[in-house]
Symmetry: C2
Subunit: 204 residues, 2 copies
């Protein structure tokens, strides 16, 4: 793509580093911003910089937060003995949106993936173990492993389980099965197989 | 969507003003930026602000440019007597990419669209007429109307034609017809009809 301006080119270059944004979309964004008034563009730019300069990862659960300790960890209404281990911030939001969970979280910041060069040391695993071990900030009775059902997720589950097992904490994981609203015909065999093996009492 | 942080919420709000970006994509962008190092995010922010503070619209053709007069208008290798009238910057790039055109441009910045409240006064039409009238910066022999084939494009063509006609300049428009590589079967009737009406000598 031959752009008529170096400055435009730089913005397109920068914008296309965003995930899933190609040069064409980046150009569309840049040309759109050129039409906006200067203050709006400055507001956008400031909001982006604020992501790095004014945000925290919660000291306890490593979720993103405006404060050193996030509202979930500091809420007295949560069941503080239960910790749900998730891969990332989006997963916290997904679980929160169900309104079915009242415990706390622990955000790993990824899963173990040797192919991408991500080892246990790059994740918040040691801090999870410490949390269970020391009972700081709150004693942990149950750890729910809610990582993705992928090879990487399974490896991470296995690794964490091995570390937590000796500490005598209860370790659970999400139920896997046919999704609500799905017909059996279209469920994959592994999911269907698991949902048969882990069948539950019928609630009539 | 319930975000865990006001700062994150603000960035998502800002990013989702970009064309075609919803809250979900905006969140993905914001979380991605949180992982980047601070300097990269500042570079992106600066590049966006530069779009407003360091860029020009060329004084003659209104294309975006790093300089007051764009490289196309100031190039001595272009056919300065021919002016191609286009809707926007992307269209300049599209025509340039064909490498078939060596004249100059005039970017209207849109087309007449009463429904969107865009009248002739919002577009660079008066400056086009002045350009033809005064021969400043260069005498104009031919104006090529290369606006989109939509009702708005046609209206704008008609309006410009009416203003330029009395000035005695040659006015042409793009050939319309079946696209190269398209089979007749799938061409719409209007396009196919026009390409028959305006058939050209066969080059054997």
């Amino acid at each position: 793509m031959n752009l008529p301006s170096k400055i435009l080119e730089q913005s397109v270059e920068q914008l296309s580093t965003l995930p899933g944004v190609g040069k064409r979309s980046a150009l569309r964004y840049a040309l759109h911003l050129m039409q906006e008034d200067e203050q709006s563009v400055r507001d956008l730019a400031d909001a982006l910089v604020a992501l790095k300069t004014r945000m925290y990862h919660c000291r306890h659960c490593h979720n993103v937060s405006d404060t050193e300790v996030c509202p979930i960890c500091s809420s007295e209404k949560r069941q503080r003995g239960i910790v749900c281990v998730v891969e990332n911030v989006q997963d916290v939001m997904a679980v929160e949106n169900t309104q079915q969970y009242r415990g706390l979280y622990h955000v790993l910041g990824g899963v173990i993936s040797p192919i991408d060069g991500i080892g246990p040391g790059d994740l918040e695993i040691a801090s999870l173990v410490r949390r269970v071990e020391t009972g700081d900030p709150y004693p942990v009775e149950e750890v729910i492993l809610a990582l993705p059902t992928t090879m990487e997720g399974d490896t991470t589950n296995y690794y964490i389980n091995k570390l937590l097992q000796p500490l005598g904490v209860k370790i659970t994981t999400l139920a896997r099965g046919v999704a609500v609203g799905d017909s059996l015909e279209y469920a994959d065999e592994i999911t269907l197989g698991r949902s048969i093996a882990h069948r539950i009492p019928f609630e009539g």
